[in-house]
């Protein structure tokens, strides 16, 4: 399976925010449903490998039941792995051993939501008031 990397600046900002607020998350990668990396806290080579494993993990886990899988976590001896999806993307993250899973899931979902929201439009400078001269009402009218 080939995984390409095409970073999206808005997603990178959201990931930077994620690692800022969550002290448990060591690495995180956002990818689309085809495996293309959109943002990552690690270099492109590692991001590609993480995305490939996350996609395979999620696809195989999704086949366990007829219901659609929405998130998973794997607790391993050396740390934990989390994968959460929304309609368009997946976010994969790793933590050290024994994380607070609920908190990590919450932070990852928040990050995914922030990708889905449209980027705020830059504020326009207030329009200068046109210098107009009011006509004095015609006193004779």
């Amino acid at each position: 399976m080939s995984v390409s990397v095409k970073r999206v600046p808005q997603a990178a900002d959201a990931l930077a925010h994620l690692t800022e607020i969550s002290t448990q998350i060591e690495a995180a990668v956002v990818l689309d449903r085809d495996g293309q990396v959109q943002a990552a806290t690690v270099d492109d080579e590692r991001a590609g490998r993480i995305a490939r494993s996350a996609l395979e993990l999620f696809r195989q886990a999704d086949q366990q039941r007829e219901q659609e899988l929405v998130q998973l976590d794997a607790a391993l001896a050396g740390g934990s792995v989390f994968v959460v999806r929304d309609a368009e993307r997946l976010i994969a993250a790793t933590t050290g051993p024994g994380p607070t899973a609920g908190l990590v899931f919450y932070d990852l979902k928040s990050a995914l939501r922030s990708f889905a929201e449209p980027a705020p439009k830059p504020k326009r400078a207030p329009a200068k008031r046109a210098a107009t001269t009011r006509k004095k009402k015609d006193a004779s009218a």
Partner: protein, 68 residues
């Protein structure tokens, strides 16, 4: 006599508590995957159970990739 009995009860109690702690610790150290589905159901696959190994393999790869 009473002291000997208390010692025996204490030893039995201590070993029982130790066994519980060890069993819990062993259970925690086993790798596992938890799957959350859209209908709210949760499936836990512990190491050694059917279907767990392929998922744990990918999870280990992912963790190794993240740590370089």
């Amino acid at each position: 006599m009473r002291a000997r009995r208390a010692l025996a009860v204490g030893a039995a109690l201590g070993s029982a508590i130790g066994a519980v702690v060890l069993r819990r610790r062993a259970g925690r150290s086993r790798d596992r995957v938890e799957l959350y589905f859209e209908d709210g159901s949760l499936v836990t696959l512990a190491q050694g159970t059917a279907g767990a190994e392929p998922l744990l393999l990918h999870a280990r790869e992912l963790l190794a990739a993240a740590r370089g």
